[in-house]
């Protein structure tokens, strides 16, 4: 990882920038997104939406801007990530618009319009992130700041006046007309904190320590600070009754720890602690128990609620998906309004109903590709922090998708989380765009050709020449 690679002796694989490929994929993604919007108009109202030109132009402008931003600021970045994200976001907008139309006209819902605003903000922050973070390694400087900020973010909803409880979970803050989930920002900050801390302490964690009962335990001073910060986050989430986020943060912590120390034991310990935690949560907290019971026997709580517990949402989602079958009933031909909160947590069943199993499998493939491209970025990354950062970011998308899609399709108990890029929800969308920007930043750094060092002859010929190297190259 250090020193120069002689350009002449060993042939080195040089990544191409592939910006052209990205543009082609982006055009396909735009076609899918705008096509879906047209399909919604045709399917629900029988005509092409009147605002299609304005809408289409705006979407094109946003994504072309994102593409040009990548071209200028991260020319060697992974070419697949941005188009995948653009497509998911586009499909999400169309589906949210379709769900808007399914509501009574009196409600005058325009969640799609708000989502487009949030997407615009997301793309702007995506570009800002690329601009402000020319090299991801500078984020390592903010390891502890990020950790502290994450905890602050998580405490915000607990504060009076700005904190806001919606549907039993106190995870929102309200500032004037804008509602925001600081937990989504905390997620990104935590990943930075985990990666920064573990990049520095990974050797100590892996090697130094006491062997007890055949297990190498790390020293408290190595693991302690991290453990404490993480425990605070979890405690807050448990107090806020945000099961999905607790699961996500816990998973992120265990996975980054495992990758950093290269010890499978962490997965085992993490798994055992998780099992214990689940058991404790089920016996201690009624709201957790209820989730498990409705998951095991959804039809015990449908159509009539039992003791105030109803599985209406889950069952309607399952009914919708079964109703949709292989190819779905088509935009406008389903009844997704039957699913409460179809546009946020339950967007996947709504899509399953109208676009079918085929569409859900396609979307899951897109998520799978995003995650695997993210992990690919981690593998080619040239520094520990970059590796851990991209592992954390990719894992956050994988876990979030798994927890929410698994929850709404009945694979695991239901916990509230948004589906990345698809669901209605500003904080989540913006945070995920920033995650993509960071992933692109790491991949740009790692795919960029190494600076070629002058050969010995050149050095000999120009003995007095001062060779200027950029700061980054030296650190490798």
């Amino acid at each position: 990882m250090s020193g120069f690679t002689p350009a002449s002796s060993t042939p080195v694989f040089v990544h191409r920038s592939r910006r052209g490929a990205e543009l082609v994929l982006l055009i396909i993604a735009l076609a899918v997104g705008i096509g879906a919007y047209v399909a919604v108009g045709l399917g629900v109202e029988g005509k092409i939406p009147v605002d299609i030109v304005g809408y289409g132009t705006w979407l094109v402008l946003l994504l072309v801007a994102a593409h040009i931003g990548v071209r200028l600021m991260a020319p060697y970045a992974d070419p697949v990530l941005l188009p995948l994200v653009a497509m998911l976001n586009g499909v999400g907008l169309a589906v949210i618009h379709r769900l808007d139309l399914s509501r009574p006209a009196a409600e005058n819902a325009d969640f799609a319009g708000q989502q487009l605003t949030w997407m615009t903000l997301g793309v702007v922050l995506f570009l800002v992130t690329l601009f402000l973070v020319p090299d991801h390694r500078m984020l390592q400087r903010f390891t502890y700041t990020a950790g502290f900020a994450a905890v602050v973010m998580l405490i915000l909803p607990m504060l009076p006046f700005i904190g806001n409880e919606i549907n039993g979970a106190r995870i929102w803050i309200r500032l004037g007309p804008v509602s925001f989930q600081p937990g989504e920002v905390a997620k990104v900050l935590l990943v930075i904190c985990f990666a920064g801390y573990l990049a520095v302490h990974r050797d100590a964690l892996a090697l130094a320590g006491r062997r007890f009962a055949g297990i190498d335990l790390p020293r408290a001073r190595d693991l302690g600070p991290l453990l404490m910060m993480w425990a605070i986050s979890l405690a807050i989430l448990v107090l806020q009754r945000d099961l999905g986020s607790s699961l996500l943060f816990y998973g992120l912590f265990v996975v980054t720890l495992y990758v950093a120390t290269e010890r499978k034991g962490w997965i085992v310990v993490g798994g055992l602690l998780f099992a214990g935690g689940v058991f404790a949560a089920i016996s201690l907290f009624s709201h957790v128990r209820v989730r498990v019971l409705t998951w095991l026997n959804p039809f015990d709580y449908y159509p009539e609620a039992v003791n105030g517990t109803s599985s209406e949402q889950l069952v309607q989602g399952l009914f919708g998906m079964a109703w949709g079958g292989m190819i779905g009933r088509g935009f406008g031909s389903g009844e997704p309004w039957r699913i409460p909160y179809a546009n946020s947590d339950f967007i996947i069943p709504a899509i399953g109903e109208e676009l079918g199993l085929t569409a859900i499998l396609a979307l899951l493939l897109c998520y799978g590709l995003i995650v695997e491209r993210g992990l690919r970025t981690a593998i080619v990354a040239r520094d520990d922090f970059g590796k851990l950062l991209s592992v954390g970011l990719a894992t956050s998308i994988a876990l979030q998708t798994f927890v929410v899609v698994g929850g709404v399709t009945g694979l695991i108990p239901l916990t509230g989380l948004t589906t990345p890029f698809l669901s209605y929800g500003g904080s989540s969308l913006v945070a995920n765009w920033v995650i993509v920007a960071l992933l692109l930043r790491v991949s740009d750094q790692s795919r960029r050709p190494l600076p070629t060092a002058p050969s010995d002859e050149d050095l000999a010929a120009e003995e007095t020449q001062i060779v200027k190297l950029d700061k980054g190259a030296l650190n490798r």
Partner: protein, 489 residues
């Protein structure tokens, strides 16, 4: 760190594969399970709001769908009203379907495989899938006669009348009172429909019941036809054979005797079998019941359809039964006159007459004459079949029984059904159960006797008539007569 990252990517792959498998399971393998659930409102509402095919009698629809401006696109209505309610049944959002609406649901909704090509055409032409039509075997004139006859008995009368074409088993009429207005149960205003249903289901007179097929009661003296058939078949008798006709029959092993209805003799110690049927002589048939074995009686009853569920087009059907008396002579005697534990539906008693009318062969009753597609192509046609491989009685026995029944109308208790210029075969019945409740009045007949085109059964379970006035002939006879006249004219 690359090794754990590779492991991690495999782990993520497993997570996504698990999601995909689970979604495939829900949306493909388990989809039908979800879609078939009664509490799946997507499916029930779709079924409820679609345009179903018509149920037709003659060329007239007795159930049809009309466009609706409520939240459901279509409203099911019943132009056939109360008169046809026991046949059509109803299509309700909250309580599902009954009657023909239920048994022919797949045709009416257009989901039946018989309509596959039509569905294909609908798919290609992008038109709404339309249901098929069901044409009933009902003869509207006979149905009118049956319904008007029953309603003339009064408001709170529980009664039923049913008619069959003997040669085919086509059900020509099926009426039951009290009845209900199916429009109120099919109402798109669900709360109103639920209110009507609650009201109807609480009504002591059970208006939702189709008494022609769902009420099995002791058939009384009409069952003597079965006993007579067994006597002719198994004891080698004919209409002139002499039987016991005394005032009272001693029942072995009991303190009680079996008396005649009015306590007098049937016209002598020994009378002909024909005379015994004419006056509905209890002692004569009680005696025959003791001479016949349980097995012989059971076989004979089953030959006419007892113990079978033979009506595919409507249901649920109450199954008529001849009991196993375990060789108890007293029980056998009482069972032979249609008491004890013998129970029969009006349809069953109509089949006894129809079997005799059809030369001994009992045809399986059916209600669906034809199934047509929305474009009126005939897709399926009702097919007359016998209920058993062998006839219930021989041709000769059938002829003897016919003569005896004609004689009963001409000279006996069944004169109420006599029609000028037509020879009618008939039998009355008055079934006593317990002393505290009124007897059931029965009547069964067919006409014309020489070439029967209709067999009828009328049953009055409860009426406003004075107890002493209740007799099968008086209550059921005129209704049966009107029905037969409607069929013959």
């Amino acid at each position: 760190m690359n090794r754990p990252i590779r492991t991690l990517s495999v782990g993520c792959l497993i997570l996504f594969v698990a999601l995909m498998l689970n979604v495939t399971y829900v949306q493909f393998f388990k989809a039908n399970w979800y879609n078939d659930r009664a509490d799946n409102r997507r499916v029930t509402e779709e079924a409820y709001s679609q345009q179903r095919g018509d149920i037709l009698v003659g060329k007239k629809a007795v159930a049809t769908s009309v466009p609706s401006d409520t939240k459901f696109e279509w409203q099911r209505t019943y132009p056939g009203g109360k008169k046809y309610a026991p046949i059509t049944g109803f299509m309700s959002y909250s309580y599902g379907q009954t009657g023909i609406e239920r048994t022919q649901d797949s045709v009416l909704s257009g989901k039946d495989n018989k309509l596959f090509t039509n569905r294909l055409v609908d798919l290609v032409t992008n038109s709404e899938p339309a249901g098929g039509n069901v044409e009933l075997t009902i003869d509207p004139k006979v149905q009118d006669a049956a319904y008007e006859g029953l309603t003339a008995l009064g408001e709170d009368v529980q009664a039923a009348a049913v008619a069959i074409e003997p040669s085919t088993g086509k059900v020509l009429a099926m009426a039951s009172t009290p009845t209900y207005n199916p429009d109120r149960l099919a109402n798109n205003d669900i709360t109103a429909a639920q209110k009507s249903y609650n009201q109807l289901s609480k009504d002591e007179d059970e208006p939702l019941l189709n008494r022609s097929i769902q009420t099995a009661l002791p058939p009384g003296s009409t069952f003597k036809l079965v006993t007579a058939a067994a006597a002719i078949e198994d004891l080698g008798m004919d209409g002139d054979s002499m039987v016991y006709g005394g005032a009272s029959l001693d029942l072995p092993g009991t303190d009680v005797n079996l008396p005649n209805l009015n306590g007098s003799s049937c016209g002598g110690e020994q009378i002909t079998l024909t005379r015994a049927l004419e006056v509905s002589c209890n002692t004569a048939f009680g005696q025959l019941g003791m001479e016949l074995t349980d097995e012989q009686m059971q076989d004979q009853a089953e030959g006419f359809g007892f113990g079978q569920d033979y009506l595919d087009d409507l249901g649920p059907l109450a199954v008529s039964k001849y009991p196993d008396n375990g060789g108890d002579k007293a029980k056998q005697a009482r069972a032979a006159i249609g008491q004890q534990d013998v129970i029969a539906t009006p349809l069953q008693m109509a089949m006894v007459s129809a079997g005799i009318a059809n030369g001994g062969e009992v045809m399986k009753p059916y209600l669906v004459d034809r199934v047509t597609s929305s474009s009126l192509d005939v897709i399926d046609q009702g097919n007359p079949t016998a209920i058993d491989n062998q006839p219930a009685v021989s041709q000769d026995t059938a002829e003897i029984l016919t003569d005896m029944m004609v004689s009963t109308v001409e000279n006996g208790t069944a004169t109420a059904a006599a029609i000028d210029g037509v020879s009618v075969a008939g039998k009355t019945g008055t079934a006593q159960t317990t002393p505290d409740r009124p007897p059931y009045a029965w009547f069964t007949s067919f006409a014309p006797a020489e070439n029967p085109s209709i067999a009828v059964a009328v049953m009055v379970q409860k009426s406003g008539t004075e107890r002493s006035e209740i007799a099968g002939g008086r209550l059921g006879g005129p209704i049966a007569k009107a029905m037969m006249e409607a069929a013959i004219s």
